[in-house]
Every structure is written in C-alpha cells, then in structure tokens.
C-alpha cells in the first residue's frame, strides 16, 4: 500500500481518525454521574472502559487507586505512542515535539530519583512514557550509573545540550528547578519553530502556542504573587514568545492589587475567552482554582482553533490534550474519592 505523505490527504485521514477517537472520550454527563458514585462502583466502571487491559497487566505490581492511576497513565502512554505511529510525515515530527513535555518530565524524574538514591523500580513507577522516549529507552537511561551518563545517553540532542549546560550547577545546588524551567522554555521555543515551519494549520497553531505561553506566564504571575514575590530567584521562569515581556511579568508578580494585575494583563490580551477568564480572577480565590479556570480557557480556545481548521494538525493536538484531561479527570475522581473529598469540590478540579 502506498502511503500518501504530502498534500491535504494525510491531514484529512489523521484529522478524521482523531475526531472519531475524540468522540469516544468520556462526555461531561458521564463525569457528573461518576462524581456521585462510590469508589468501588467507580472502580468497576473503569474496568469496563478501555483501561481494562492495563489494569490486568499492572494488577500484580499495584493495588487500589495506585493501580487505577498507573493503569491510566500506561493507557495514555500507549495511546500517545499509537498516535505518533499513526501520524504521517511532518505531522509525526510535530506530534513528537508536542509530546516532548512528557520526555522532560520523565528525564527529570530519572535524574532527581538517581540523585536522591531511589531504587530503579521506584523511579520507573513515576515515569509515563508518553513522549518520544519509549519505555525501553527510559529503562536504559535508568540503568545508567550516573547523572552525567544519563545526559550523555539521552537521544534528544537539544535536551541533552541544555541538561549538560546546567547539570553541574544542579548537582551542586541539589536543585533541578532551573534546568526544568529551561527545558520547558526550550519546549515552547521548539513548538513555535515547528508551527512556523510551513505545516498545514501551523500558523493558527502558532497563535494557540502563544496563547498557551500567555496562560503559563499568567499562571506563574499568580503563583509568584501567592508566594509573595521572591524577585531574585524568579529570573528564569518567564517563557518568551507570548504577549508579555519578562520584565512586565516580573513587575506584575510583585504588584499587590489583583485589580491592577488583571487590568495590566487585559491591556495586552486580545482573545475574548481569556479576557472573560481574567475578569473572573478579580474575586479572591485559591491559586489552584485560578489555574483550573485558565486551563479550561486554554482547552476551549484549542477546540475553537481546531474547528476553524478541521484538516490541520489541530484536531490531532486537541485529541492529545482531551485524552490527557480524560485520564487526569478519572484520576482526580479516583484520588478525590479515596481522600473523601465532596463531589462539589471534586467537580471544580475536573476539566470538562
């Protein structure tokens, strides 16, 4: 069979398949029904969904809610790997780039775990091989004897270069926070470069990436404000490429009045959904509630971009994000029910 690698055909094919997969995701009404279930009933329901195979596979290693969580993470990882395999040509590369955040999370978990002397098994339990680095590659990296060797053996060269640059400082200060921020900045820079690379739907997606950067930076502003400033240390947390300059964000993070912060942010934002979300932040609420509002806004915007560009990279990315939040929602319900949180509180943390 000849695979069509160029023109609009691959986009139609992949977009259609992604739309079908997205339609199979759990709808809002089902989440609301789940919120009113007890934990045993919820667990039975999960086993009847597509997570059954992973639950069976991992039942020897994990128990209870840990089993549900790990099974869902494995399912997510496998699904992402299937999407990477499905995407043809340049879409594959872009999908890989988009999923790099999982690689960042995994590689940092390995480095931190190694540095703190955790066993290989314990490190393996916190990895989700949903990015370009698959499970055997991650296993190989875990088996390396030192952090320097792990960085050397990392197949993603740009990531390896960033890690090598900051590794000695991180090992000296016992903190990988700075490297982590640098890696995420690299991640967004890569996305911007890929979106500008001439791919179909790239330019609308570029706007979305910039929007996501704004959301991330705004969230960081509110997080820094909640922690009371800390100017000297926050030098490297602002992601370039969005609507705001690092100096502006730095200033806003030390402004006391929320109204002043919201007004300043609104001056530069043009997306209506975000303007509405920012307006709702005037009232005093917990920082994680602000973050949930911003994530919901981000997903809605992504959906809009995807509908406006039906045969582009957007439907694929929308599916990846929606799938991630399906896993996150199910995990939240399981963990919340285990911790005895009320359904109303839990509902606030679901992205529906």
């Amino acid at each position: 069979m000849t695979e069509v690698m160029s023109g609009i055909a691959p986009y139609i094919y992949v977009s259609t398949r992604m739309r079908v997969r997205k339609a199979k995701l759990i709808p809002r009404e089902e989440y609301l029904r789940m919120l009113n279930m007890g934990l045993p009933e919820f667990t039975r329901l999960i086993e009847e969904l597509e997570y059954k195979r992973e639950i069976d596979e991992l039942s020897a290693s994990f128990k209870g809610v840990d089993l549900i969580e790990n099974a869902m993470s494995w399912n997510l990882a496998k699904e992402y790997q299937r999407v990477i395999a499905l995407a043809p040509g340049e879409m594959k590369g872009f999908t890989r780039d988009y999923l790099h955040k999982w690689d960042i999370q995994n590689i940092l978990s390995i480095l931190r775990g190694k540095e703190l002397g955790f066993s290989d098994g314990k490190i393996r339990a916190v990895l989700v091989p949903a990015g370009a680095l698959d499970a055997p590659t991650l296993d190989r990296l875990i088996a390396e004897s030192s952090s320097e060797r792990i960085v050397e053996q990392l197949p993603i060269k740009q990531m390896s270069a960033i890690l090598s640059e900051g590794l000695s400082e991180a090992l000296e200060t016992h903190s990988f926070g700075k490297i982590e921020n640098e890696l995420y900045k690299y991640y967004y820079a890569t996305l911007i470069k890929a979106a500008r690379g001439g791919m179909k739907g790239g330019l609308p997606f570029l706007k979305y990436v910039m929007f996501e950067i704004d959301i991330k930076n705004i969230t960081s502003v509110f997080r820094m404000r909640a922690q009371g400033g800390d100017n000297a240390a926050q030098q490297n947390i602002w992601i370039p490429g969005g609507s705001f300059k690092p100096e502006e964000l730095e200033r806003l993070s030390s402004v006391e009045s929320t109204d002043e912060v919201v007004d300043s942010l609104k001056k530069k934002i043009k997306v209506t959904v975000l303007l509405d979300a920012l307006e709702s932040l005037r009232e005093k609420k917990p920082i994680y509630s602000i973050e949930s509002t911003l994530i919901a806004t981000q997903l809605n915007q992504m959906d809009k971009v995807s509908k406006r560009n039906p045969f582009s990279i957007s439907p694929l990315l929308v599916y990846l994000e929606r799938k991630k939040y399906e896993v996150s929602n199910l995990r939240a319900i399981a963990r919340g029910k285990e911790a005895g949180l009320d359904a109303e509180i839990l509902e606030k943390y679901l992205v529906m």
């Binding site: 809610v65 993470s73 916190v126 903190s175 926070g177 890696l183 995990r331």
Partner: protein, 220 residues
Amino acid sequence: MALNVKPTRSELIALKKRIKLSERGYKLLKMKRDGLILEFFKVLAEAKDLKNQLAEKYERAQRMIAIAETVDGSIGVKSAAFSASENPVIDLKSKNIMGVVVPKIESQSVKKSLTNRGYGVLGTSAAIDEAADAFEELVECIILSAELETTMKRLLDEIESTKRRVNALEFKVIPELIEARNFIKMRLDEMEREELFRMKRTKGKSAAKAAKLSAAHAAE
C-alpha cells in the same frame, strides 16, 4: 516516734538553726513551686493554642496533599517530591526558666520560596505549591510544638519534684525537727527542774543540819 537526739544545749542550738534553715528553704521552695505553676499555666495556654493550630494545619496539609494528588496524581506529586533535597536545619539551644533548663528550638530552611523548593515552576501546578506550603507550615508548627511540649514536660517534672520537697519539709522534716527541739527543751527543762529540786533539797538538808548543829550548841 522514738527520738534519737542528745538532749544537750548545743544540740538544741544546732536544731534551732536547722529549723530556721528548713523554714527558709520551705518558703523559698513554696515560692518556686508557685512560680513554676504560674509559668506552667502560661506555657500551657500557649501550648493549647498551638495544639489547636497544629490540628488545623495537619488537617489543611492532608486536604492539600489530597487535592494535589487529585490534580497532579500521585506520580506528579512524587515526582515533585523528588526535588526536595534540602532538609530543614534544626538548631537546639537552651534557656532557663526559674532554674529549669528548657530547650529553645530554632529552625532554618523550613519555609522555602517557590523557586527554592527545587521543582520547576513551569512543570508543576499550583496545587503542589499549596501542598508544599501547607506542609512547610505544619513542620514549623511541629517544631514550635516540640519546644513547648518539652518545656511543659520539664516544668511539670520540676513542679513535681519541688512539690515533693515542699511536702517533705512541711510534713516531715520541719515537724520532726520541731518535735526534737521540743523534746530537748522538755528534757533540758526537766533536768533544770531536777537540778533545782536537788539543790533545794541539798540546801534543805544543809539547813536542817545547820539547824540541828545550832540547836545542839544551844543545848550545851
């Protein structure tokens, strides 16, 4: 009670001195006990307040970690927890409350700023910040609570031993000394009376003898 004391004047003087000293000691110890009890109640009020705070902070920390696990999952929370490599430093000093040495615990690096916690701001959620914040506050409260609880325990021990000393002085040592003093006094008085009687009797005998002699002389 059989008293084993020599009923001598020097013993009486020594006993009087001991009674005076014991009574002075008794007064001082009573004052110390009362002072310690006052101090204990002050610390108790603080400790009660702190215990309530501790319960509240523990509850908040548990709620926040449940929320963090709800939002980020146990994998996300564990991954962020891998970043916490800098342990809090506890500096143990001591202070003196009415002669009782109690600990003074000072802590460093418990409450950390967002960027000093070791995890990256961009790869984690605010729920983790809130959970870390809640646990840092809880650890600070536990350290303060440890200081107050140990102070209370030491004060209680000291109050107990002072109370025992006061009671021993009040109901055992001083009454026994007074009894001994009274006994010696009584014995000395008795001896004095005996001496007086003996002297009077001797004098009487001598007088009778003299009278007899003078009567004999007069008859001659």
